[in-house]
Subunit: 218 residues, 2 copies
DNA sequence: AATAACTTGCACAGTACTGTGCAAGTTATT
DNA sequence: AATAACTTGCACAGTACTGTGCAAGTTATT
């Protein structure tokens, strides 16, 4: 006998799998301990069907973490401003756009059960942040009263607070996240406001082209 | 028949009750979902005995929240500096001393199950913080690019981050908590360092009376 | 010394899950 | 139209708890 026809997965199954991941992302962002039943039902499936797509809860959570982490790490690599203040501002602004996924990371990252795997997945992002902060300390554009490792943690927490504890629907939410992060990095609020006025493209304002002194490479 | 002799509780029972509260404070700070068994055993008692002192898990948690909140609220009332920057610095410094209790509050406050009761208990503290921030915005000594309510949340999160995410055993932990809070309130890190140099008593350093210009950088 | 107060250990009922097996259905693909 | 792939619903075993009752033991207080 030959190999049994290797048919590829049915389209509805592919969609359902994606639906589960999406539902789980939302549900877990809301409550890291959301039950399998809650997730399955909010994806329009039975609990039993979910186990046809994921071996167990951990497999599902791991896949969400990895997917989210990959987006973050990709963003981190895309930020290349030599100026540390600008780099930190741009990174925060870009990450904010991924708010839904960031919230998952924020929730799971605080969950002891997955601390280790989350940490590994986010390593590139954290390395990028540490590099930016180190650069800023070296040329004295960011605070030097805290060592880089501690500063990285504080900046991460500040960003997390701004993203998870402020209504993302507010028009100034994104700007607030950026200003919060820069505050934690040592700038006064006036410096931060001035910086963002000089670089309106950081906040992705489409009507910001006509701004006075915009001269940043693309 | 007369009333059955109203004897007061035995000393060992009083001690055990206090021991449970103390063990629960520590355990819950570490993990808000710590089980009754874990708490009872770490207090050196059986799970069954704990139920002799508290009706259920909620009664225990409520008592911890209320006790912690009372300490915080008392501290908040004791801070009377007219200068908003100083007031915020002193408040943070004093609260930091209650680290163990702060950590419980930090953990429980993030726990949806007790969000409401924690909020009610901490209302006086939050009102005091809001008053300080409002004062600082009125006389332009704190940032005015964020409304008071949002700023209060961000400052609270910054303090929480500095207290829970940094090793409290480090000698500079307390100073760090204060600097973090002031950063979030809009000051640059240099302004913060200067403020603390001018008011060494805020950090409660006993040998800081004569200190002219202690270098904070390392 | 007497005794009320307290603690322990065990059994038990209840809750809220996770993960698996299986038969009976439904649906996409060939 | 045939069929492999998928989903459902149900039953079941297992885990990790919470909270209660009760008998037997221990300890502080009178």
């Amino acid at each position: 006998m030959t190999t049994p026809a290797p048919r590829r997965p049915r389209q509805d199954a592919v969609d359902n799998r994606a639906g589960i991941l999406s539902a789980a992302t939302t549900a877990i962002a809301h409550d890291p301990q959301a039950s399998i039943d809650t997730i399955a039902r909010s994806a329009g499936l039975s609990r039993r069907a979910l186990y046809g797509h994921f071996a167990d809860r951990n497999a599902l959570v791991t896949e969400i973490i990895d997917a989210g982490a990959e987006r973050f790490n990709r963003i981190a690599l895309s930020v290349t401003d030599p100026d540390a203040q600008l780099a930190l501002a741009r990174l925060t602004s870009l990450l904010w756009q991924e708010a839904a996924h960031v919230q998952v990371a924020a929730s799971i990252a605080l969950d002891d059960a997955h601390l280790a795997s989350t940490g590994k997945a986010l390593a590139p992002l954290r390395a990028a942040v540490a590099a930016i902060l180190q650069r800023g300390q070296d040329d004295n554009t960011l605070r030097t009263d805290v060592d880089v490792a501690t500063l990285a943690r504080l900046v991460e927490e500040a960003a997390r607070a701004a993203i998870t504890r402020v209504d993302a629907a507010l028009p100034e939410a994104r700007s607030l996240a950026v200003r919060t992060t820069l505050s934690m990095a040592g700038l006064s609020w006036r410096e931060t406001v001035a910086l963002l006025e000089q670089h309106p493209e950081i906040l992705g304002d489409p009507a910001a082209d006509a701004a006075p002194a915009t001269d940043v490479e693309r």
